[in-house]
Each structure stands twice: as structure tokens, then as C-alpha cells.
Symmetry: D2
Subunit: 270 residues, 4 copies
């Protein structure tokens, strides 16, 4: 069967490079997506967008539709949030990434450059099929308790519909310890690269759940050969409406970018 | 916060009894849902429906939209499958249960009595909100790696939309051993009953993944005080289009029903 | 390799029945081991021993050497505890089961009828080899995160030394939920019976960690075909020096014994 | 309670630096332990010892007593292996690290500089107490499914006996995926450093289980701030008697040492 699977190296030996505006993800490129967990206001998203661009991020992330465990938690600014994200995109020229939780909302994402499918929806096959019909890249996050095979077969749902621009994102798996929110499965990077031509990025922010762990986990993921990172940055983490605890300040993010670039060169033996 | 949560005992001390036609789920009732994993043909579903009714099942299950890990596996007969399920319902009078994977398909489920939300969609919040707006019961399966708190908060998404007829279903959690497909978390039954007024049923078929384990796990779940069972029955497991390995034959199912009834009486100290 | 493994059905097709005094474990027998987590005083152990014998237990358990996560928790009465256990044995005629944590302590266990190896020591190979040289039965508990293959190979360490009287004990595996201390893996009972001729008993007390879950889990394990149970009983759980929360009172235990006997008959189709 | 725990920062704020001959582990030091999984012959251990010393390792590892899941797998050269390890120590001057599986074997370890307690014995309290009475450092590996609290309390067993020279070693936790043998829990490094003054090293060889993953995981662990690494090196991995698949060749190890040194400087912001 594996020969016929579109995600497989047998099907497509060379690395897939996903192009988003001027940004390239995969192959020899190393790409950083940064921004706030949630879009909260025009000032917030524009300020963060300019800061992460200055620090070297190639794409801007910003959540407008937020999957929250409780229905009573902040659910995002929705359509309004996407409008504000477009303003930040216009001001900085950064392509944008934002999560979509249901096919019916896709029309609102017209100006969003990369559609994110969250970990909770990794096996929401109706949504995977819907984004498979789009002509824009999809960033697919691994579910918290899904094997690599399940992850790749979810990507296959998108590829099978004709959309070949899929970016895989490891964001931590559920383990038994109370200490960290999720355990980043860094060995998955090499194992995914071996089995698929699709780019593999890592989200250390959700894995760590604590800002002080983010830089080390980001450097670690880079040393393991990921094709990029997705990192939460907020100008005022304390007052963030969601995930403030795991957001870096722009200056912390800028410092990390420098370290990450050097680590990538060393890991690549350059 | 827990006072305000609609699933909680604080909010609603007495057990919720969900009525589906003549069937009642919850409280002092013990209810069995049985049928094939997938609806395959009129003859198959009608034959199984009559057999499970004769053996004492109160509801008929039959999958028309099948969530499969691979996009190339049998995906179900879809709309046609739901038509065949309605025929079996008409011939036997059994209310029906079938899984819906996306809000856009809901209109096709008009004649289905209970909408099932599968484990993969337990945190598909758009779908939960959509079924929360329906005037029919929802059977919500626990995700393979979700805590009881996450499970109950997903139920809350449905309750919060105004639909109070939610049935919880434990179907096994992901563990580390290769042996069984999933490990049935039977302690969850008592713990859920303590925290919520919603009925809790168990699906031993998906947990076991092997037919010979189903009867013992069904009896075990009954001994643990579940409010009912959902069991896969097929007249010809070997040729089933999905999950044949875990389906019981009608005669096996009939024998199990007798054992389950006796075990429930003993466990209740009657 | 499996042909050569002494635990395997290929090596020894018929069930092994372990005899301990008048008690028999395995085959068609159903055997209950009961007693306090820790031996605390002569009055306590003798009172509990008489109570569990009256309720139908065939063996008496009592911990003298206690493996505790913290070095500052009560570690058991050690040699003195074993003396008190012998007194209870003499007064009731019940064979005894007690945990040994190190080969050097074995001489103190001369009057103990069954040596228990705890979950933490399942892969303490030096200890397994030492008890493999004894001429008395060994009750081997499954580690909290060990596969069935690892469990059986640890039993093989004992068998390989010449001691064929090994009793396997499932006591719960580590899962991700905060709710229960351990998740009882009941499907393991059938899977172990398929692969090995050794008897398989279940300890619902340690799996549940809460007394009110013990009866239901004990009945569930019985429905799944285990060869016996090991249950903690204490005359005054509130003041127990260890695991009081999960101990049953003698009267609760007596009631459970009656239910368990009936459930076993029903599960066996008698 | 935590104030009284000897492992805690409250008890001992500054980092503990464990001295072994000229090697120092902890604080500002970065220390590498390398060598074969098993000592196999004088030529093998001496050759590897010279190679890892030349590449910058400060300590030599070599297993003489091997904990193997099956009693029929190679169990190590035992006393003879320790003699050969001493020869390699004499020829290179490298202090040695070797695993002890039972207190009765400790007299044989007189010339071994650091006693290793393996993951399977992390809660073998009799062994922990025995090494707690020694006047030499102990390298304690985290069990595959133990929480950080359980890990630290096992260290406390050693400290409580009077031996303050304990080195903690993360070697991977059991997860649900089939892909990698164990998942390295790198977030544990920071979390342990926060809670304890004891040095924390990482063993990427056992976590990865595949040689090609070892360099990336070693660099990742270094980026996360571990105090050192323990790496398996073999001159002829294909013919190794144990764990050959995860052993690096001396030249691979030498290259990795250079990368690790640079990554540590970058991660430390130097």
C-alpha cells in the first residue's frame, strides 16, 4: 500500500517545498512562524507582527477561532480577528497562518495564507477533506495521542483531495507526568523525514506550556533537524486572553532567533 | 466554576434519563444498543436488526459515515446507508443510532434517533455545537487519550447549546501495550457517575478489537455499573466491510444478553 | 524462541495449578487472597485473618516490608511483622502471602507460604533469580508500565531457575488520567491465559486506590475470567498505617465474596 | 515536607558538583560519559576507551552486569567484565561507570568509580539503600514510566543513607508510539534543575534505540541545558553483543563532541 500513499518517499522522493508568498517551507529552508496565540486587537496584532518580522520571522500566526476545552473560555474574535490579522499582514507583508475549526468558516479565511488544522481536529476527516480542496497550504498539527502513521494518514486525506501543500507540525504528545503540559516527541522529526517528503515543523510553545521552556525546546527541535518553528509571541504575556503563560516577549523571541540560526548551522555540520 | 457546569451533580443532582422512543437510558434502566459496525445492505441491516431485537436490544446501531484512519479504507454507504437503516427501523420499530462526522451531513440524519459523535471528534467543537442545537439525543464517545474532565467539558459544549439529552460512552483509552487495541477504563464509570448526572454506557467492541474479548469486557462493564452497552453484531463477521474481527454473531450476542442481565442484578445487590 | 519459553502454552499446554497448603490457584479453581496492606499489630492481623477466613478467603496477605515511594513513609514492621503474620497463620490455618523486596531478607520469609514480588521489582532480575531458586510459590505483580511480553519474560526468569510455581498478578497500568491511581487492564487476563499456562489473579485494591471502586473492579475482573483476587481488608481503614483508603471492611469483603462467586458462575456460563 | 527533602533546592540552593577523579559533574561543568553498552573483551574495551578519551569523554562506561528483558539474552561478562574495565581505566586514566543490579555484587565494584542504577531498578529500594551507604557517586536512571517526583524520591533514598553524590539521568519515557523505543523527556531537564541541586545528565542512546537518532538527540539534550551526556560508542556496532544498533562509531562520536560543545555555548548565550 505504501507505494500508493502520496505522503511517502516512494511516491515523491525529493523534499516538498511549500511556498507561501516569499516564504518557503521545507527542503534546505528554515522557516519561523510567530505571533500571538489569539488576535486580540489591531494594536496588539500589528505591534507583534512588526516585532516578529524585525526579529526574522517569515510568517505571522494569530488565532481568531480558538478551540478551548471549556465552552466558557474565550473562543477568539472570529471573523473580526481575521480582519485584524489581514491589517497586520498588509502592514508588514508577512503571510499569515490561522486555525480553522470547521469547513463552514473557510470562506472567512480567504485572505489567510496558511490554514492551520489543530491537534484536536487531526482526525476530523470532513475538515481535512474540505481543506484538501483548497488552493492554499495547510499546516496540520499532530494529535496529542496519535501515532506517526495516523498523523501521516491524516495528511493523506488532504493530499488525496488534490492539495499537495501540507506542512506537518509536531506539538507534543500526552504522557503520564504532571510536570509539563505535553512531551515534545523530537525523535518524530527524523522518523517523519524518513517516511515523508512533507516539511516538518515544531511548535514548542504548546508542548512546553511554560514560556521559560520554549527557548530550550525550540533550540532542541532545531538541533533535531525540523524545517521550522511556530512560536507564540506577545507584547504583554501577563494580560494575554489565552496561553499567555507560554508566550515569549518580542525581545526574548529575537534573541532566540539568533541562537536557533547558529544551532541549525552546527547541527547541519556547517 | 463547577456549580455553573450543566453536566455537574451540583447543577442537576438526580440522574438524567434520556428517552428515545420507548427506550430509556440512565437512572435505573439498563439499555443495549446493538447492530453492525457498518450498514452494508438492506438484507444485512434488516436481518441483524431483527436478531438483536429478538435478543433484547432496545436500540439499533449502524454506521453510514465511517471515520477511517486511511482515506482509502471503506468510508461507509453514507446517505444510502442511512436509508437502509430507516428501513430496518421501520421493520423492527427499534430507534436508531448512527455516527455523524460533520454538521453539513445532519439533514441526512432526520430519521436517525440518536446522533453519535465518535472518539476522533470528541473535541470537534463545531460539530458539538451543531448537535447541541438539535432536538434529539447525542451519544458522545470519549476520545482515546482524553481525561474525564475533557470528556465532560465536551459534553458541556452540547448542553450549553440547549440540548440536555447527552449520553456518555467510554470506549477505551490508548495505553502502551501492543496487545489490545484500547484499554477499557472501567473505573471511569463510577467516577463519571459521581461527577455527572448524564448516563454512561460502554462500547466493549471498539475497546477490545477482538470478538472473543467482547463478552467478558461487556460483563465487566456491567459489573462496574454502566447504564448500558453498545455492541457490534454481524451475521457474517468474516465478510464484514469494517471491524468484522470485533463483531459478535447474533447467537453469541443473545447469550451475552442473558449473562449481562444476571450480572447487573448481582452487582446491584438484588 | 517461544517454543522454548517455559511460560508458554506450547511448552506446557494445560493450566498450571499452584498448590499452597490446602489452597489451589489456577485451572478450575477460584482463589481469594485477603488481608491488610501492612501488618500493624498482633490483634490487627489476627482479627483480620479470622474475618477474611470466615468470609471465604483461602490465603492471608499481610505486608511486612513495604515499598514506599518516599523513604520517610512507614516502611513496615519488617521481621516483627512476619512474626505476627505467622501467629495469624497459626491461629487460622490460612497460608500466607507477603512481599519480599530483597534476596537478603528471604531467610526471614521461611514461614511465609507465597513470596510476593511487587510491581516496582518486576524487573529486579537479581530478586527474580533468587526466588526462582526457592521451593515455594511466587506471586509476581505486573509493573505499572510493562507490556505483557515483559511481564511473561520476568516470570521466565523465575521459571528458568527451576521454580515452576509462579502466579501472575495484574494490578493496574499507568495511564494519563488523574482520576484513578492506575487503570486495571482487564483484557490482559484473556490475553495472558492464551499465551501462558500460569494462573492469573487480579489486585483491584492497588489499581483502584479507592475502597468504593474495589468491589466493582473485583466483580469486573471476575467476569473477565481471572483465577482469583487479592484484596486489602482492614478492620479500621481510617487508622491504617498504609493504603487505608483502598481497604475494605470485613463485612464489605464478605458481601463481595458472595457476589464474586455468583458472577464467576454466570461468566462461566454455569 | 519538601523543606526536609535533601534533594530539594530549599535544602541545598547551590548546584551540587560531583567529583570523580579529575572529572566534575554539575554546576558549570559539562561532562561526557562514553563507552560500549557491554564490555566484551580487553581489546574492545581498551580500544573504545582510548578512542572516547581522545574524542573528549571524561568518563568511561562499560556494562558488565546487563539487565535484559529475557533471561536467555546475553547477561554480560560480570566479574570478568569489571576486570577488563579496570584494565581500560588503568590504560587511559578515565574514571569508570558501570551498572550494578544487586547489593550482593557491590564488592566486585570496588574499582568502579560511579555505580549506575538502571531504569528497571529505579524503585529497587534495597539496592538504593545499599548504594546510599557507599562512599562513591551513584548515577541513577529514571524509570521508563516514573514521574519526576518518583525519580527525585528514589534519589532521596540514596541521600537519606548519607551518600550525597547522586547524578540523575533521563533516558526516555514509555509513550504509545511504535516508532522510537522511548521518548526523551527533555522538558524534564529544566524542571529537575528547578526542583533539585543534583546534576542531570541525559542518555540519548537508550532513548533513541537507533544510532542515527543519537547525535540529534544528544545535541537537543545539550540545548536543553543538561549537565552532561552518556553515549554508547562501539568500534564495531554490527557485531556488538548488545545494543549495537544504537552505538556510535568513535569517529561519529568525535564529530558529535565538537557539535555538542558549540551548541552548549550557544544555548548558554555565550
Amino acid at each position: 500500500m505504501s507505494e500508493t500513499l502520496q505522503y511517502s518517499r516512494e511516491h515523491h522522493p525529493e523534499d516538498t517545498v511549500v511556498e507561501v508568498g516569499e516564504a518557503k517551507i521545507g527542503g534546505d529552508h528554515f522557516t519561523v512562524i510567530a505571533g500571538p496565540c489569539s488576535v486580540e486587537s489591531e494594536e496588539q496584532i500589528v505591534t507583534v507582527a512588526k516585532a516578529v518580522k524585525a526579529a526574522g520571522a517569515q510568517l505571522l500566526r494569530g488565532g481568531a477561532f480558538k478551540p478551548r476545552t471549556s465552552p466558557y473560555d474565550f473562543q477568539g474574535l472570529k471573523a473580526e480577528g481575521l480582519k485584524l490579522l489581514s491589517i497586520a499582514k498588509a502592514e508588514t507583508g508577512l503571510p499569515t497562518v490561522s486555525e480553522c475549526m470547521g469547513a463552514d468558516d473557510l470562506p472567512l479565511f480567504e485572505d489567510v495564507d496558511v490554514i492551520q488544522i489543530g491537534a484536536r481536529n487531526m482526525q476530523n476527516y470532513e475538515l481535512l477533506k474540505a481543506v484538501g480542496k483548497l488552493d492554499k497550504p495547510v499546516l496540520l498539527k499532530r494529535g496529542r495521542a496519535n501515532t506517526l502513521r495516523e498523523f501521516l494518514l491524516s495528511a493523506e486525506y488532504i493530499l488525496a483531495e488534490g492539495n499537495s501543500r501540507v506542512i506537518l507540525c509536531e506539538r507534543g504528545i500526552r504522557a503520564f507526568d504532571e510536570g509539563s503540559r505535553n512531551t515534545l516527541d523530537l525523535a518524530a522529526i527524523s522518523m517523519l523525514h524518513e517516511r515523508t517528503h512533507l516539511p516538518v515543523i515544531v511548535d514548542p510553545s504548546h508542548a512546553a506550556g511554560i514560556a521559560k521552556l520554549v527557548p530550550t525546546m525550540a533550540m532542541a527541535a532545531t538541533a533535531c533537524g525540523c524545517d521550522g518553528l511556530m512560536i507564540e509571541v506577545h507584547t504583554d504575556p501577563e494580560s494575554a486572553l489565552s496561553d499567555g503563560l507560554q508566550s515569549l516577549r518580542p525581545e526574548e523571541f529575537a534573541g532566540l532567533m539568533g541562537q536557533v540560526r547558529q544551532i541549525r548551522e552546527i547541527a547541519n555540520g556547517k
